[in-house]
Subunit: 200 residues, 2 copies
Amino acid sequence: MEYFPAPLERLVEQFARLPGIGGKSAQRLAFHVLSLTDQEAREFAEAILQAKELVTCCPVCQNLTGGGLCPICASSKRDAATICVVADPRDVAAMERAREYNGRYHVLHGVISPMNHVGPDDLQIRSLVDRVAQGGVEEVIMATNPDTEGEATAMYLARLLRPFGVKVTRLAYGIPVGGHLEFADDATLLRALEGRRELL
Amino acid sequence: MEYFPAPLERLVEQFARLPGIGGKSAQRLAFHVLSLTDQEAREFAEAILQAKELVTCCPVCQNLTGGGLCPICASSKRDAATICVVADPRDVAAMERAREYNGRYHVLHGVISPMNHVGPDDLQIRSLVDRVAQGGVEEVIMATNPDTEGEATAMYLARLLRPFGVKVTRLAYGIPVGGHLEFADDATLLRALEGRRELL
């Protein structure tokens, strides 16, 4: 038996399908929507439709864009000879926040993961190889996550790109800034030791 | 600076306005919407608009309804001589789940709360008094929450309804079923003792 009117039940169901939203949270969110003004509810619905409709992938780097080339690929100020390969559009945002990198990106939209049935053909790997094959690229920086799947994907791509004679690099491992040595795991400490640099 | 396309940023903002959804969660939800099919995204947007448009308050009991009288007020099987007063439509759902109550409801849409600037005129109190004044009501059960504001609201209503000669009752206090005496607070234990009943 349903205790709420059908349109409200349907909205609760929609919220409950979102990741990390349980039944009780979905109910709270649906009730919140009822408390919005008509204008606010329209804006919310409109935002869902527009994000879905207007956000596409950049034909060059596969990052999300509001249409056509993404701002980074379109910018003549960004170094086209360097490509930073990341798994997810959110990783581009993280790199950009660091305000250090001035090259371009390539978004794989995932990592190779046999456990989850994700193979190289399910990712934007062909388009990366095509970009490198066209020439003009000097360095490809692998910035996939430092976990097993991210590592394996980086290694796979490095081998794939070697024939083109480009430099393939990997982000440095080490202790995170602001972290505590005491809480660093063995693998991280080992990598931090291996990668130590001379001071002064 | 924005790192995501504008339509995506707008959707993140919309999610971030929901109660209990922080910035990171809003981002995750917005990316989830991008992964929906067009059809699913349309259904989501549609559910928001329809809930807002079609869900209204029952003109009699003020509970939420898909239009017109709510199913409980419309049902001739429900005892019209008993009104259970609750603060929120979700409390009606909780009572209905217990499958014991066969009377009707009245939803106040809040409780009197001077701290939050909610006075009697901000609640559905006038409509409750009108219902009782029309006659035919024998008992009004106060089922507001057992906290300070719920108590105060119940007392206020009891005084307001006394002139009409109806019986005004309050839900029983006591130890919750399945609870542990050991963890019960003093106030609850005191009420449970006061309300003790003879066995057999």
